[in-house]
């Protein structure tokens, strides 16, 4: 224990007395976090430049531009479409929006607004693209809402009018029925008249016969009677004919009235159907018709500034690079130190030197992380609920990266190569993580490997703990890595020292 403390004390003294190491490795990460924390302590996107072009700006396109300007975007109108697109290529604009000439809402208008983005700026492009698209969509939705509103109100107005006229139709149908009944009655009366005429006619015939039998009736009376009877017969025939015509016409009228009644009934049925159909439309709210399904992105974390989301990844980047660099440099400096040989010939186990190096590194990094977490805890007190788990996670994550850095240190034979090795390793781990590009863009088989990337696993653990206050997960992967790295260090330490000493020996040192 005494020896271990001596080794750690010695490592600390050497690190602190080496001004460059102390500045870069010990205070550098704290400074980095301070700077990044200050810079990203905002929730907005600043200084987004949007280039626009249209051969003829319309009121509608101008209204979209105004909307963009209201959202703090800097909108610059370009002279040509090429200027606008080339502006994106050369980085003058973050994106270019091309409006069709005289953009307006009219029958058959295509109204295609083209948005050009620089896909190579992967981290920014999605944010801007979605923001601009949502602004243009928002204006489009406003227009759509207006148009749909007119249609819906017209429809409702028509249904209301039809409803009102439905009674008139019923009354019309009733009146027609009455007329029919009356005509029926007329036909019946006409028939009665015809029958009466026929009876009268028969009676006239009897009267004529009777008259013939009465010889005593003077000739003039008889003649007069006969003339009268004949005239009456003629009149009766005419009357009969007229009555028949009336009857015939009334029957025709009845047929027509029946047909009209049917038509009125049809109209009534259709009107009822239209009213029923209009009433059957359940959604008449314009907003609901224009956007029947609304989407709203809600964060699973408390919405704050960029630093809140960045914090776990930022901590991870610091832990990874500081652990890799610090441990590899500590190991390589020890290896290159003239005193290294004396350590070898002292009655002290190699394990103690390795463990001493590990403890020195972990003490420094855990102290750094503790300072950062302490500041974060002050800003975000709810983090205290996961503090114990967070501490355990930081300890194991740091351990794994320190051990990896030590392997780098034992593998390389100069400080320069070890530093380059550590940085390269860190960069590879960082590159194959969600920090730069989404892992989902990788082929599945690579993604399956990358899922076990130390940085990815550690980042997931910290994100789960810091952002979602979830319990420790995937920690078994890190424990497995730790065991593997310890075994590797034991092998590499022995082999690399042997090789290194032979090399030194052959160089005559």
């Amino acid at each position: 224990m005494n020896k271990l403390l001596t080794i750690i004390k010695k490592n600390f003294k050497i690190l602190i007395r080496s001004k460059s190491s102390a500045l870069i490795i010990i205070f550098g990460p704290l400074l980095l976090i301070l700077l990044v924390g200050t810079a990203f302590n905002t929730a907005s996107l600043y200084d987004i430049k949007v280039g626009t072009y249209s051969s003829a700006y319309s009121e509608l396109s101008e209204s979209i531009i105004t909307k963009l300007q209201d959202e703090q975007y800097k909108v610059i109108k370009t002279e040509s479409q090429d200027n606008c697109i080339n502006g994106v290529k050369s980085g003058i604009y973050h994106l270019c929006v091309i409006f069709p000439p005289n953009l307006e809402i009219k029958e058959g208008a295509e109204n295609l607004v083209e948005i050009y983005v620089d896909q190579s700026r992967m981290n920014l492009v999605y944010a801007i693209k979605s923001s601009i698209t949502s602004k243009v969509s928002s204006r489009s939705k406003e227009i759509s809402t207006g148009l749909t509103g007119i249609i819906v109100s017209q429809l409702e107005e028509s249904a209301k009018s039809l409803e009102e006229k439905k009674a008139t139709l019923s009354s019309l149908r009733a009146s027609t029925g009455n007329i029919g009944s009356k005509i029926n009655s007329l036909v019946s009366t006409s028939k009665d008249i015809t029958e009466s005429i026929n009876t009268t006619y028969d009676e006239l015939a009897q009267l004529e016969e009777l008259n013939l039998k009465q010889q005593n009736v003077s000739g003039s009376y008889y003649k007069g009677m006969k003339i009268l009877i004949e005239a009456l017969k003629v009149e009766m025939r005419l009357f009969n004919s007229s009555t028949s015509t009336i009857s015939q016409n009334s029957e025709n009228l009845l047929t027509d009235i029946a047909s009209y009644t049917d038509n009125i009934r049809d109209i009534e049925t259709t009107t009822s159907k239209i009213i029923q159909d209009v009433n059957a439309i359940q959604v008449k709210d314009v907003e609901s018709i224009v956007s029947p399904i609304k989407t709203e992105t809600k964060t699973v974390t408390a919405e704050r500034t960029h630093i809140n989301y960045l914090f776990p990844t930022l901590i991870m980047i610091v832990i990874m690079f500081v652990s890799l660099l610090l441990s590899s440099i500590t190991v390589i400096r020890e290896k290159l130190s003239p005193a290294y040989f004396r350590n070898f010939i002292s009655p002290t186990s190699s394990f103690l030197f390795i463990f001493g190096t590990y403890l020195t590194n972990i003490l420094i990094i855990v102290l750094q992380v503790a300072i950062v977490l302490g500041v974060m805890l002050f800003i975000q007190p709810e983090m205290s609920t996961t503090l114990l788990n967070l501490g355990a996670a930081v300890l194991i994550i740091t351990s794994v990266f320190i051990l990896l850095g030590m392997i780098v240190g034992y593998l390389f034979s100069s400080e320069e190569t070890a530093t380059v090795g550590a940085i390269s390793l860190g960069t590879i781990l960082l590159f194959f993580s969600n920090t730069i590009i989404p892992l989902e863009t990788l082929p599945i088989w690579i993604k399956q490997i990358v899922d076990y990337n130390l940085f990815v696993v550690s980042d997931n653990i910290l994100r789960a703990l810091i952002l979602f206050k979830q319990p420790l997960q995937q920690i078994y992967i890190l424990i497995t890595y730790t065991v593997i790295f310890i075994v590797l260090i034991a092998i590499i330490y022995k082999a690399s020292n042997e090789i290194y000493n032979i090399k030194r020996h052959l160089k005559g040192k």
Binding site: K10, K13, P338, I345, P347, T348, H505
Partner: protein
């Protein structure tokens, strides 16, 4: 005289390159033992092998009757080692370096403080106790390195070319320090390619050439094994040596005479009668002595001679092997 370290048939190679071949050495206790040899002769490898830093291929190394292979930690405890590279942490102070290495060598914290004070005084670094090692001069750094090797009070101190890269004054300081350490009953093993330095300092010397110990023993023993002659080095005012050579050539006690530039060297088994003969002859010739020395052959000559012999034997063996192959 008890042997503290016994090395038997030690062989060490790096890959196919054999660095130490069948080395046999007995290193006596509480003496200064020198290992001399050219650069690349295997001196450092021998030292690093005998402290257990390198694993050897064959042979046996015993420390006070204990086998190095079995009691590595015990041996690390009784041995202190200082290389020519100053194995200290430049960013630690003199005291911190000593505390660190003392602690690694299992010195109890109570004893360590006393040891550090003692060793700092011993190497004369009292005024630099709190100075960073990187701010010390070359000689001070070398003394600190030796102090680190001594802080756990080892029975054996091994120094690999301790005076390498030092100016003559610092070199003298270090040599005095080594003598002082030895006076404290510590066995000192040093390597050097500075033969006169080893000759002055060491009680016993081993000559190492191409991984083989050609000979070892006290400097006198080594010289005797080379020749029993004494050398008279003479420079006269007139430098007319022909008459002297003629006169001495037929003398029985003179083995050889050489004319080397301004001087002549007379090899003889008995220097005194030859000296009186020389003095009377010079008086007769009215010549004057500028310089006269009577010496034993130097270790350098012994070393040179042994190497020549060894290389000659090897060449002979090679030629015979080639002939055999031809036949």
């Amino acid at each position: 005289m008890e042997n503290q370290i016994e090395i038997k048939n030690l062989t060490k190679s790096f890959g196919s390159h054999v660095v130490l071949k069948d080395v046999n050495l007995n290193i006596p206790s509480q003496k200064i033992f020198g290992i001399i040899g050219e650069s690349g002769s295997g001196k450092t490898t021998l030292l690093k092998t005998i402290i257990g830093f390198w694993h050897f291929d064959n042979g046996q190394i015993m420390y006070e009757g204990r086998n190095l292979e079995k009691d590595r930690n015990f041996i690390k405890q009784i041995v202190g080692f200082a290389t020519q590279d100053n194995c200290v942490y430049p960013k630690l102070t003199v005291k911190e370096n000593l505390e660190y290495f003392g602690s690694l060598s299992n010195v109890p914290s109570g004893t360590l403080k006393g040891n550090i004070e003692k060793v700092i005084r011993f190497v004369n670094l009292q005024d630099s106790t709190n100075k960073l090692a990187e701010n010390l001069s070359g000689g001070m750094q070398r003394r600190l390195d030796i102090a680190c090797a001594l802080v756990h009070n080892p029975k054996i101190l091994i120094l690999d070319e301790p005076t390498e890269d030092l100016d003559p004054l610092l070199r003298r300081d270090i040599l005095n320090l080594i003598r002082k350490i030895n006076l404290n009953e510590t066995t000192v093993i040093i390597t050097s390619h500075l033969l006169h330095e080893a000759e002055q300092l060491c009680d016993n010397i081993a000559i190492l050439h191409q991984g083989c110990v050609l000979k070892y023993g006290s400097p006198e023993h080594l010289k005797d094994s080379y020749t029993k002659d004494e050398e008279i080095h003479l420079i006269t005012k007139n430098k007319n040596y022909d008459k002297l050579i003629k006169l001495l050539k037929n003398k029985q006690k003179v083995s050889n005479i050489e004319k080397l530039g301004r001087k002549i060297v007379i090899y003889t088994k008995e220097a005194e009668p030859i000296l009186s003969l020389l003095l009377s002859e010079l008086k007769k010739e009215k010549d004057r002595i500028i310089q006269i020395d009577v010496r034993r052959p130097s270790l350098g000559e012994v070393f040179e001679n042994l190497i020549k012999k060894s290389d000659g034997v090897k060449k002979g063996e090679q030629a015979s092997n080639n002939n055999q192959e031809k036949l």
